[in-house]
């Protein structure tokens, strides 16, 4: 009886190796921009970096603790600058307070040398207050990369808290914009529900929360597609 099948023993099967470069949407700022709604595309700044900015798209000079070398930072967010108005006004009042003190407090005259030291001490405190408020605004950031989201919080002196969650652990993204000021200046909260140990990560008072939510959605879709296709970085 003739053989139906004869295996080619000793011969190794030929495996076609493909060296396709993994192209990720999140690695190209313009490609990611095109996936967003037209109205939101116009709201996205160009991929240039301003150190003192509350909304940075693909900032190129940012490093932080816990970052992976291959991770691409897509968004660097801070609280909207308008949230600083309160302490700025307080600083202005503190600077002007000594001029009006004699009209408010009953006149108790200190010698001139004590007045000078008290004045210097008052302005020192004012400077410290302004510095603390500024660096608190500047360093409390939210970061979105192509793999994770981060919440960097400096709660008080020498205490920091960094929370991160993988994009594929995000279950729900909710944006909150309420009130006249927030609607006028287009800033609000982005609440991210995750399946990680920390169930919720909050982006508080960030500019353009709708843009942030849509970018997160696109990144999550990309992660889902990669999972289905079995692509792993």
């Amino acid at each position: 009886m003739p053989d139906i099948f004869v295996s080619e023993q000793g011969k190794k099967p030929k495996v076609k190796k493909t060296h396709k470069k993994l192209h990720r949407l999140s690695h190209d700022p313009e490609e990611l921009r095109k996936t967003l709604q037209k109205e939101i595309q116009d709201e996205l700044p160009k991929s240039t970096y301003k150190a003192i900015s509350a909304f940075n798209y693909y900032p190129h000079r940012v490093k932080f603790v816990g970052a992976d070398n291959k991770e691409h930072i897509i968004l660097l967010l801070r609280r909207h600058p308008i949230t600083n108005i309160g302490w700025i006004l307080t600083v202005i009042l503190m600077l002007l307070a000594p001029m009006f003190l004699s009209y408010v407090v009953p006149v108790v005259e200190l010698p001139a040398n004590y007045q000078l030291v008290a004045l210097m001490f008052w302005y020192l405190i004012t400077l410290a207050f302004a510095i603390e408020k500024f660096i608190s605004w500047f360093f409390n950031v939210n970061i979105v990369t192509d793999e994770r989201i981060f919440d960097v919080d400096f709660v008080h002196l020498i205490y920091r808290e960094i929370t991160d969650a993988n994009l594929d652990q995000i279950q729900d993204v909710t944006t909150q914009v309420g009130g006249v000021i927030r609607t006028m200046f287009n800033f609000g909260n982005v609440m991210v529900q995750t399946a990680a140990e920390i169930p919720q990560i909050e982006f508080i008072s960030v500019p353009k929360p709708d843009v942030v939510a849509q970018i997160l959605r696109e990144l999550r879709v990309e992660e889902e597609v990669e999972k289905i296709e079995g692509r792993v970085r």
Binding site: P59, V65, E109, N113, Y114, L127, A128, I135, V152
Partner: protein, 78 residues
Amino acid sequence: MSLDQLINFEFSGSLWLLLRAFLLLGLFIYLIFSSVVIRQINQMTNTLEVGFEGPIRFLGWIHLFLALGTFVVAFVIL
């Protein structure tokens, strides 16, 4: 009405001495706080590098030197 006239003349010298001691102690504690601010800025800039560390560190050091200057001035003139 000056503070000196409100208080019994016999005790005014001791009161000023006490006030001077409290002011100097307060300024010394503030000096320690200023150095803690420097430490805080260093920790923050090590956690997050965004390209603006120089001016912020400079602010911190200016604050420390001003605190030191105030302490020295208070020590000399009070």
